[in-house]
Amino acid sequence: MEHRSYKTDLWVDWCPGCGNFGILTAVIRAFEELSLDPSKTVIVSGIGCSGKTPHFVNVNGVHTLHGRAIPFAMGIKLANPQLTVVVHGGDGDLLGIGAGHFVALGRRNIDVTVIFHNNGVYGLTKGQASPTLPLNTKTKALAKPNIQQAVNPVALALSAGYTFVARGYAFDGEHLKNLIKRAILHKGAAFIDVLQPCITFNDVYTAEYYRKRVYKLEDEGSWNPVVERPGDRSSKLLKAIERSFEWGDRIPIGVFYEDAHTTTLEERFSQRLKVYPAVAPSNSRIAESDGRPVVDRRRFEEVFREFIVDVEGV
């Protein structure tokens, strides 16, 4: 596909100053630097402010249902494993209504990247507490302090089995862009928790708040999140989880965990389906040119012989 801009010319209707702008820019730059073919790239999103992302990017976009971006992405990716599939979802989307799918993707290690817009609120429905808002926090949109505890997205992703887990910050564009590139290049389920200020509803976790606290894991020379040998998995995982507990004065961003030794679901399917993924649901032939099914009479009898009785009329 010849080069064209990765940005559509739609008006981006997020609130001025929203962290989503930072994420959008980072995504677009990552796509550019990876020279992704727009027609072979799909952004799949849920519902929320974050869910609008695909409309602003000039690659295929599938804006799905609240919480269901991961299942849609799974179907797209398994049907056409050639596609680069990136999921965008809000914290309510992926860890509220969609938490079940979030866990399931970890168990599958499908080669998709999940970008988590972590703003602590349900943005598009006007600022209710999201699953990442800590207990007792009272943002200005809430009438009363939050009554539920926060879930730790990084720890949850690690426990669920994601093989690449990172955290970025919406307004550290260069760093975030690099995380996104690395996540896309990773073979397997990749998760990036992106700290995303919501200027309109979240007056606690603001750009100011994060600017002061965020630091980069990689700035610690000793930090190595990469599983070098399968045997290292548990210890690396545990270190990553330990690090995910850090929150408050210092908030780590960067790669928490990366394991390239776990097979992807696509690889596992290729064991069963022989010709997969080269021959895949999206490109395999189902009919002859005249519309007759590939499964003709003879092939039918061959494939379904378990159901066929030869009548002898004994």
Partner: protein, 637 residues
């Protein structure tokens, strides 16, 4: 004297091999050239509850429905005898284990309390004690039944003496005793049974041999009864015949139809379809790929439908299979598919509701759920199948319709069809056509929702040099969100007017088929698995001088109102009877809504057991002769 048809019940505890008995007998019968249908009744339980197979075997044709009473009841346990006391006909045969003769009803823990009291009351009414032996005596005395008592334990001991069988596996051979006894009564050929056993046990030769040996022992003890219930020479002449459940028929249809992605979350009675597909997910026949089908067990039904939609967007023929509780969870996804004109197929097997209901029993009570669940208005197609053969072709057609009209298609079936085994002629796959509708390679400036035609040319995600957007929000031609009222009006209408297009383009015979008399005095209307019993019943009534026709509605939505109206007005309105496995006989309401015709006579059954030919015949007779408006059926244990 040889018979045209023989009815059989095989009964025993769940998990004891009763299904194996069914398969071995059915394939042996098919080998002979007999037609067989077998309904499977079982509890939502893995081990121990009462399960039975209700078969009808025919020498003249492929039977279409089961009927009562039966000619043979073959029991593995006492519970079967308590449960099926009314089911055996005059002069019927009872196969039983002599060691259960002294069993008392009260002692059997697996019978539910309500059932137990009901049986006890019935026995009291008949003046029969609550022991197996008194039931047997009663049947012998009052119904002229022949008792075929076999000492199961002794037979197994003989087997054990000859073969090295682990004692704890011995009980698995009880199903072989049942097979042997029934085969002997039917006078089945030993070679046919051997053939069938080989298919059943695959490579495991020793099992075939042991079961044949067991057959010998049983035959030895039943010399005088060999052929007591023999069938006439089969009149049909198939060279090959399918022996498959409805689930299997749909699975085969889907694969022939080009299925490439099947998602499912396990649920009765749908899951078996996915397992069959999984077994055939990929084959290479002479270097030609059949498949691959990605079969995905998802984390729930929401994921099942959403991932199927995703796969459809990528160009795969894509489907999921479920039943009521699972379908409920798919409704939001269905609505997305409607909004985005996605060709996705949901195979919906009805079971007894509401809620978990009767998970292993049948019903047709989800009609309106399939037709109307989902918020907002959008085009969908709902088709149903009357039997295994229709189910196969409809499974292909579902994809064709979905892709031609770019709408979600619901293929509505039920547990009766799904789980029953039937001998069916091999489908004529060469007559099948794959129709993919308006497909385009896309290209720059591609508009997925081009308003210039009702069905816009569809490019797949991944098409070269093509970008498209999808959204559940109202959208413009590119698939971007817009809230403009004029665009709303155009785009919303575009999706809905497909309904008219569908009604005008689907040929009449795919909408409904009419059977029976050309010039009927009364008309029966139904859909799905009512077909078999209805055809049997009107045929039987025609022999008694009542000319009837059966309208088998295959396209449920959009409802073929014009065609239905045209047919039903051929007879006086009090001569139209709707039949359904539900309380409300919902097809009547549907006809009132969509064809403007009130069907005022109805036959309902909602016990979870299938409508049998015999009870339907009786009910129809009552309605057409006596003016009764509604009959509720309830035969069957």
């Amino acid at each position: 004297m040889p018979r045209e048809e023989v009815g059989v019940i095989l009964g025993g505890p769940q998990g004891s091999g009763i299904e194996t008995s069914m398969m071995v007998l059915t394939r042996a019968l098919a080998r002979h050239g007999f037609g067989v249908i077998a309904d499977r009744e079982y509890f939502s339980n893995i081990t121990g509850r009462h399960s039975y197979i209700h078969m009808l075997i025919s020498s003249k044709s492929i039977p279409r429905a089961v009927r009562y009473p039966v000619d043979i009841v073959a029991s593995m346990d006492a519970e079967t005898l308590f449960t099926h006391i009314s089911d055996v006909g005059v002069g019927g045969y009872i196969v039983y284990d002599t060691s259960v003769a002294m069993k008392k009803l009260e002692e059997i823990p697996s019978i539910e309390d309500t059932t137990k009291s009901r049986i006890a009351e019935k026995l009291r009414g008949l003046g029969v004690d609550t022991t197996v032996s008194s039931i047997l005596r009663f049947l012998e005395r009052e119904r002229g039944c022949r008792l075929v008592g076999l000492d199961f334990a002794a037979l197994l001991r003989r087997l054990l003496a000859r073969y090295r069988i682990e004692p704890r596996l011995l009980s698995r051979y009880v199903s072989g005793i049942i097979v042997s006894a029934v085969a002997t009564l039917l006078n089945l050929d030993r070679r046919a049974i051997e053939y069938s056993l080989s298919l059943q046990f695959g490579g495991r030769e020793e099992l075939v041999e042991q079961n044949l040996e067991l057959l010998k022992y049983v035959e030895d003890g039943m010399q005088s009864l060999r052929g007591a219930v023999a069938l006439e020479k089969p009149r049909q002449s198939f060279r090959k015949i399918l022996v498959a459940t409805g689930n299997d028929a749909v699975a085969m249809g889907k694969i022939v139809g080009g299925l490439r992605y099947q998602s499912y979350y396990p649920i009765t009675p749908a899951a078996d379809e996915s397992f069959t597909i999984e077994r055939h997910e990929y084959s290479s026949v002479d270097g030609v790929d059949v498949g691959p089908v990605v079969v995905m067990q998802t984390e729930d039904e929401i994921s099942a439908v959403c991932s199927a939609i995703g796969a459809a967007l990528a160009g795969a023929r894509s489907a999921t299979a479920t039943s009521g509780p699972g379908f409920d969870l798919m409704v939001e996804g269905l609505s997305w598919a409607g909004a985005n004109e996605v060709p996705v197929v949901i195979t919906y097997y009805q079971r007894g509701g509401p809620s978990t209901g009767q998970p292993t029993r049948g019903s047709q009570s989800d009609l309106f759920n399939a037709l109307f669940a989902g918020h907002g208005e959008f085009a969908r197609i709902v088709i149903s199948s009357g039997d295994h053969e229709e189910a196969f072709y409809d499974a292909v057609e579902a994809f064709n319709l979905a892709e031609r009209f770019q709408v979600p298609v619901i293929h509505l079936l039920d547990k009766f069809l799904a789980n029953s085994i039937k001998t069916t002629p091999l489908p004529d796959v060469d007559s099948v056509r794959i129709v993919r509708g308006m497909v385009t390679g896309g290209g720059r400036g591609y508009k997925r929702f081009d308003l210039s035609s009702t069905v816009s040319p569809r490019a797949f995600l991944g098409a070269e040099d093509t970008i498209m957007w999808y959204t559940g929000d109202e959208h413009d031609e590119y698939g971007h969100i817009v809230e403009d009222p004029e665009n709303r009006r155009a785009m919303y209408s575009k999706r809905i007017v497909k309904m008219d297009m569908i009604l005008s383009e689907i040929p009449r015979e795919r909408k409904l088929t009419v059977y029976g008399d050309e010039d009927p005095e009364y008309i029966v209307v139904g859909w799905g698995s009512v077909k078999g019993a209805a055809l049997d019943a009107i045929e039987a009534l025609s022999r008694k001088g009542f000319r009837g026709a059966y309208v088998n509605v295959r396209l449920l939505w959009p409802f073929p109102g014009r065609e239905v109206l045209e047919i039903l007005t051929r007879v006086p309105s009090n001569r139209v009877v709707a039949v359904e496995h539900s309380y409300g006989v919902l097809i009547s309401d549907l006809a009132a809504m969509a064809a403007g015709v009130r069907i005022r006579r109805g036959v309902a059954k909602f016990t979870g057991r299938p409508i049998t030919s015999t009870e339907l015949e009786e009910a129809l007779h009552k309605i057409i002769t006596s003016g009764v408006e509604r009959v509720v059926l309830s035969y069957g244990a």
